[in-house]
């Protein structure tokens, strides 16, 4: 497998809102984030509101300029890349967003919207394009006749399929999917998830799958990156993270997710207290310590490094060894 995407030390600051004459300090949305995606791999980005998961996706797509850090795509640096180079990269790096209604032009037929993507990247001739559009629609499970329809004539699930067809049109290597199935009913969501799985298996497509839905990420992704307040809390293979989370926040997220299977339901542990703090005033040291049932004085002093027993599975918690090893019971807050 080859390395497709490499993100290192990514930091994004947003300008603070002015309060009258007082200029507010910048808000740090992402802080020193590192991750990579290999070809054909599905990497999940999980986090709650304010975790920075959407900002991360947008920075990778070049929609936000990072304050610090680097983003390499197929070896090409993206931060500060000239527009011409970005355009070439964009053909290999596509996006699917949550709300297909807002990302499709309501006055353009589905066929025209997909053909536009082909034309922008100079793919095929004008005569060849309708056949390509038809093939793409069929690829995503829509009839070729859908090309003549307007977005409003389609259901939410069908519109999301159009969004995927348009992303696929330019033959990307990586798709950033930001909550791409979150707005859909479960029975419709299942079809889109199956479609994305097939595209990975058949085209070797890699995905950065941004989601708040932990069960879905656990089902669909190969690796997971857990974000909290702009920092990576834990990253590693899905199986390892679900079976033996090394960070108290990951453990809390897994416990908080409602489950149908009574065996998976944890009634023993109390849910996390409070809400995530404001990104405008993040806690010192470990950003999770204000809600962590295991926080000690030292957690306020140092920003915990991302480390772990295996290169692939790492957590940013100074107590991860004592909390996960021998004395497993201690992980359950009293």
């Amino acid at each position: 497998m080859s390395r497709l995407l490499d993100v290192a030390g990514l930091t994004v600051d947003f300008r603070g809102q002015r309060q009258g004459w007082v200029k507010a300090p910048p808000v740090r949305a992402l802080s020193d984030v590192a991750l990579h995606v290999d070809s054909g791999e599905i990497v999940g980005i999980v986090g709650e509101s304010g975790s920075g998961k959407t900002t991360l996706g947008r920075a990778i797509l070049g929609l936000i300029r990072p304050t610090e850090g680097s983003i390499h795509f197929e070896g090409t640096p993206l931060v500060g890349a000239p527009p011409k180079q970005m355009r070439a990269v964009r053909r290999r790096l596509q996006a699917v967003f949550q709300d297909p209604t807002s990302s499709l032009n309501p006055s353009m037929t589905v066929g025209a919207a997909i053909a536009e993507a082909l034309a922008l990247h100079g793919i095929g001739t004008r005569e060849e394009r309708p056949a390509r559009v038809a093939a793409l629609l069929e690829r995503v499970g829509l009839p070729a006749s859908a090309a003549a329809r307007y977005p409003r004539m389609l259901s939410g699930g069908q519109r999301q399929r159009v969004g995927i067809a348009r992303a696929l049109a330019v033959e990307p290597a990586l798709i950033v999917a930001d909550e791409a199935v979150s707005a859909l009913d479960v029975s419709v969501q299942a079809g889109i998830v199956n479609l994305l799985s097939d595209l990975r298996d058949e085209l070797g497509l890699a995905m950065l799958f941004v989601s708040h839905d932990l069960s879905l990420v656990g089902y669909f992704c190969d690796r997971v990156v857990v974000l909290y307040l702009g920092r990576v809390m834990e990253s590693g293979p899905v199986d390892a993270i679900f079976a033996a989370p090394r960070h108290p926040y990951t453990r809390a997220l897994i416990d908080a997710a409602p489950a149908i299977d009574p065996a998976q339901r944890s009634t023993a542990t109390a849910p996390l207290r409070g809400d995530p703090p404001s990104p405008m005033a993040p806690p010192s040291g470990c950003v999770f310590r204000t809600r962590c049932p295991h926080a000690i004085a030292r957690c306020a002093e140092v920003v915990p490094p991302l480390e772990g027993p295996a290169e692939g599975h790492r957590a940013a918690c100074i107590r991860q060894d004592e909390l996960t090893s021998a004395n497993h019971q201690e992980f359950v807050p009293s």
Binding site: V193, S215, P258, I260
Partner: protein
């Protein structure tokens, strides 16, 4: 259904909307449900299933182009559908309180949350200024808002989404309702905050002996909170059972389809998610037989001929499927 006498008894509830072409569109086809004190009853369904219309019809909050039929009997009051709008106004927020998905829609952005809860307290219980103020602090403490004296002086925008939902719950409870209707109350919240609110609702229900009608799209949330559950599709209840029994062994193909379409980490790499063929029913053109029939793998000829009755499976559960026994 349950041993205790129901506090709310809904019988044959129908809703018809006047359509632009002069005809009518039936959104609810005769809903029967009962709610007993101290229980949480969940209505679960996908978009367009009729779960929120059921809530609005019970509360008399549908738009004027809706015609509501059937009976909604509230114990000690009678048929709510026959009440004057003034009498119904006293029931709403008095005997029956509601909370919704988006707490900001229920909160006044230019009034402190203490003033808003105080208004609810004054209207339903009265009392002196000091008594109202004390009741407000107590209400905020009961929904586990830390530092209630200070929070009472906060405006809604100064609070997080989870805090706002707690404030709305405090307002809803200020009038000591016998029934709480919660329409997707945790859908807009983060998962760790959702877990807190579900626990809070379960505790309040237990302590106050309130009945809760919980409306949600999430089967997992139903499994966490409900004693009994009704699954809706196309304006009908298609299956009803005790929660553990429904998830243990479903007796309707639609419920089964929903459960198999849920992603669970344990199934990774082992199975594809189940999808249901076809589209969600178009309620402007309902089929003559089973609403789910056109998408159902078990469909046989009689399914398409006439509406399917609600078959009692046990005294406690029922299924609107001709072939329930084979499932």
């Amino acid at each position: 259904m349950s041993a205790a006498a129901p506090i709310l008894d809904v019988r044959g509830l129908t809703v018809d909307f006047a359509a632009a072409d002069g005809g009518t569109i039936r959104a609810l086809h005769g809903i029967d449900l009962t709610l007993t004190p101290g229980e949480t009853f969940a209505l679960v369904g996908e978009s367009g299933s009729g779960k929120s219309v059921t809530n609005l019809a019970i509360m008399g909050l549908l738009a004027r182009n809706a015609r509501v039929g059937g009976e909604v009997r509230l114990e000690g009051v009678g048929d709510l559908l026959a009440l004057s709008s003034r009498a119904m106004g006293a029931v709403r927020g008095g005997q029956i309180a509601m909370i919704f998905q988006e707490p900001m829609t229920c909160l006044n952005p230019v009034q402190t949350v203490g003033a808003q809860i105080g208004e609810a307290v004054r209207r339903h219980r009265g009392g002196s200024r000091a008594q109202v103020q004390a009741a407000v602090i107590e209400a905020l403490a009961e929904v586990e808002i830390p530092d209630p004296e200070r929070r009472a002086r906060a405006y809604p925008h100064e609070l997080s989404g989870g805090m706002r939902q707690r404030v709305v719950i405090a307002m809803a409870l200020a009038c000591q309702p016998r029934i709480l209707i919660a329409d997707e109350p945790t859908t807009a919240l983060d998962v760790t905050v959702q877990a807190q609110i579900l626990r809070l609702l379960a505790r309040l229900r237990r302590e106050r002996g309130m009945a809760v009608l919980f409306i949600t799209h999430s089967l997992a949330v139903v499994a966490e909170i409900a004693d009994r559950v009704a699954v809706m599709y196309g304006g009908r209840i298609v299956e009803q059972a005790r929660t553990a029994e429904l998830f243990g062994h479903t007796r309707h193909p639609y419920t089964r389809g929903l459960l198999e379409s849920l992603p669970v980490p344990a199934a990774r790499g082992e199975r594809r998610l189940r999808t249901m063929p076809g589209q969600v029913i178009d309620i402007t053109r309902p089929p003559p037989g089973c609403a789910f029939g056109p998408r159902c793998a078990l469909r046989i000829e009689p399914c398409d001929e006439a509406p399917i009755p609600f078959f009692p499976v046990t005294p406690d559960r029922a299924s609107r499927c001709l072939r329930w026994a084979e499932l």
